[in-house]
């Protein structure tokens, strides 16, 4: 087993750079043609933000999987299982189970009551201005944290996959990725973005499936032998048991629960996921989208279980840790071990496509939120026509794209993995309580919504600032200072209940009552689909 572990020559990875770039270039060329074709019908705001509501449930479900399965899930979870064994697997379970919240409580009701953004639903029966502003701010915050994490992740991927280790070279690749993303979103709008996500999801899941079957074939399709081999290479039977990563101390155990809470309640409140539900014609198609995405995402995480233990058995944790890119290199190294340069090139290209697709989805969400919620409803007080709004959205795309490029270059090399967890925690604290209350609690008021959203957003960010991920630890962002007053790396266990509590408190002590007619309208619309936004007919 030891001889197999050393069979992966990390230095040889760099020789495949041209191949990686070539395969990625083909992906870009193909998707660009599709985006250009799709953009012919981009006329109205519904076309630009919601792809004319013309995608089918299965197409949208695939796009959701493409949006959700970021480089962090693919490379991160495979690497986490390869190194920390079972605890990496627990990560993926939270990411999957979370979709039941979206399926049961959010997707259809949201599709029936909203138009383009999350704020449409939250401000449906409450006061437009304060609620829309709060929802837009939390949308922009979640998108910003997520975007920065993806762009910074691109930097470490580049060093691993393209063999570019100098800062200038990496910055150049980040600029290229960012510029491509701006072009996709600017030209293709939601339609183009969706196609990029669909193609990427198919490539990613197919690639992972091939590798999974390959690994299983090596072990005679016997999961138990694969696990045995992983134990043998790691020389540690504990890789099969929980606790290797999170079981160290009492704090780390609570931290894992906090993370689990944020994952499970945050997914259904991620603005870029919510916005995808508007790209289908009906609530029934929104339901089908979630069903598709649950099957695809579930299947994919089952693959990562095999891939993670496969990398642990065939490549070995030591080789992975010492490779450029560290934990993230488990999946690429396994690909190289199995299929040589060609499979590595394919998997690397897919990883780049993944970053591109996720970043594009986040950018169009943030741009829509700014143009539709802040510009059209607040700044111009609803007087702007749809054309002006889309124009503003397109300009916002460029601004956000440039900010993402700059942020990515600055954050390159920083430990920003916590930003994804923070995005989930903010979504779960700032958005989910208000979504649930406004859909299901008749008495919910504007004051409750505003308190819950700002309280959730503020507490999540403040707790992160005073947590060990920012200061005081060996892996902290600022190593030299220590103002880590809050012991957990994940704020969810405090900020989520707090936001629910504030929503309840703000409502019960509010003397003002909301419009009962609007409440009735929202409830009837949400459950029956009366008056829901229809598909655009071209």
């Amino acid at each position: 087993m030891i001889t197999i572990a050393t069979a992966v020559d990390v230095a040889a990875l760099k020789e495949t750079t041209l191949l990686n770039m070539g395969i990625f270039g083909i992906f870009v060329a193909v998707t660009m043609v599709i985006v250009l074709r799709a953009s012919r019908n981009n006329k109205t705001a519904a076309d630009y933000y919601a792809a004319g509501r013309s995608f089918t449930g299965s197409q949208n479900g695939t796009a959701i999987a493409g949006d959700y399965l970021s480089a962090a899930s693919f490379l991160g979870i495979t690497g986490a299982i390869a190194i920390n064994g079972y605890d990496g697997f627990m990560y993926s379970i939270g990411f999957l189970v979370a979709w039941l919240v979206a399926l049961l409580l959010v997707a259809e009701l949201l599709r029936n009551t909203g138009k383009f953004t999350m704020a449409d639903v939250l401000s449906f029966r409450l006061k437009q201005r304060p609620v829309r502003i709060a929802a837009a701010i939390s949308t922009l915050a979640v998108c910003f944290f997520y975007l920065l994490a993806q762009m910074a992740g691109a930097g470490s991927l580049i060093s691993l996959l393209l063999g570019i280790s100098d800062w200038g070279g990496q910055a150049l690749v980040i600029i290229v990725v960012g510029a491509l993303m701006i072009m996709y979103v600017l030209i293709g709008g939601m339609k183009g973005t969706t196609w990029v996500q669909i193609i990427k999801a198919i490539l990613l899941i197919a690639g992972a499936a091939v590798m999974t079957l390959w690994v299983l074939a090596i072990y005679g399709f016997n999961l138990s032998s694969l696990l045995g081999a992983a134990v043998e290479t790691a020389n540690n039977p504990a890789v099969l048991n929980p606790g290797l990563q999170y079981g160290k101390t009492e704090t780390s155990k609570i931290d894992f629960m906090s993370l689990g809470l944020a994952l499970v309640l945050g997914t259904a409140a991620l603005p870029h996921v919510l916005m995808r539900f508007y790209t289908v014609p009906t609530a029934k198609e929104a339901r089908k989208s979630v069903v598709w995405s649950i099957w695809l995402i579930g299947l994919f995480y089952l693959f990562t279980l095999v891939l993670g233990y496969g990398a642990a058995a065939l490549v070995g944790a030591e080789t992975i840790k010492n490779a450029p890119g560290g934990v993230n290199s488990a999946a690429p190294l396994l690909a190289f071990y199995l299929g040589g340069p060609l499979l590595l090139g394919f998997i690397s290209a897919v990883a780049f496509a993944t970053i591109l697709a996720v970043v594009a989805g986040l950018t169009i969400t943030a741009a829509a939120s700014f143009a539709h919620d802040i510009y059209a409803s607040v700044i111009s007080k609803g007087k702007a026509d749809a054309d002006t709004e889309v124009k503003v959205a397109r300009r916002t795309v460029v601004v956000i794209g440039v900010l993402a490029i700059l942020g990515g270059i600055l954050a390159n090399g920083q430990n920003v993995a916590f930003l994804v967890a923070l995005a989930f925690a903010v979504a779960a604290s700032a958005n989910l309580p208000t979504i649930v209350y406004s859909l299901f609690w008749r008495k919910f008021t504007t004051q409750g919504a505003v308190w819950s959203m700002y309280g959730g957003l503020g507490s999540a960010i403040i707790l992160i600032i005073f947590s060990p991920v920012v200061s005081g630890g060996a892996t902290s962002m600022i190593k030299d200072a220590n103002f880590a007053l809050f012991p957990l790396s994940n704020p969810g266990i405090v900020s989520i209940p707090l936001a629910f509590f504030l929503g309840w408190l703000g409502t019960t002590i509010d003397k003002k009552r909301e419009d009962t007619a609007k409440q009735a309208e929202m409830e009837v619309r949400s459950l029956t689909g009366v008056g829901a936004e229809k598909a655009v007919d071209h």
Binding site: L96, V97, L100, V101, L240, A520, V530, K534, D537
Partner: protein, 126 residues
Amino acid sequence: MGNDAHTPDAAASVDFEQVQSTAQFKELRKRHRSFVFPMAVAFLLWYFAYVLLADYAVDFMSTKVWGNINVGLILGLLQFVSTFAITGWYVHYSNKRLDPIAKEIRDEIEGHEFDKHGNRVGGATK
């Protein structure tokens, strides 16, 4: 009607409070909530029970059941199974118990059975 965003909103002149108070709508709401709420509570409890076991019952989770497959792996895979099962169950329930009644109410409203004053006016134009 149909796929045209520019048709006037059929729901614009509807008295929704009237619709909300009908027995039919109350039945739809009851059917929806009596499924999604208990199911949401159940899967959340099951997920957090699993997380607590992984956190605090490491020995139990590490018990080998068959070859190298231990209790933790089986419970983890059961989380996948339960997620798929609840998804299938909800789709079946929606198709059978929610969609037909929602469509009935929608057709009635879009055929303008209720006006602003809550009076039934004319039949649905189906």
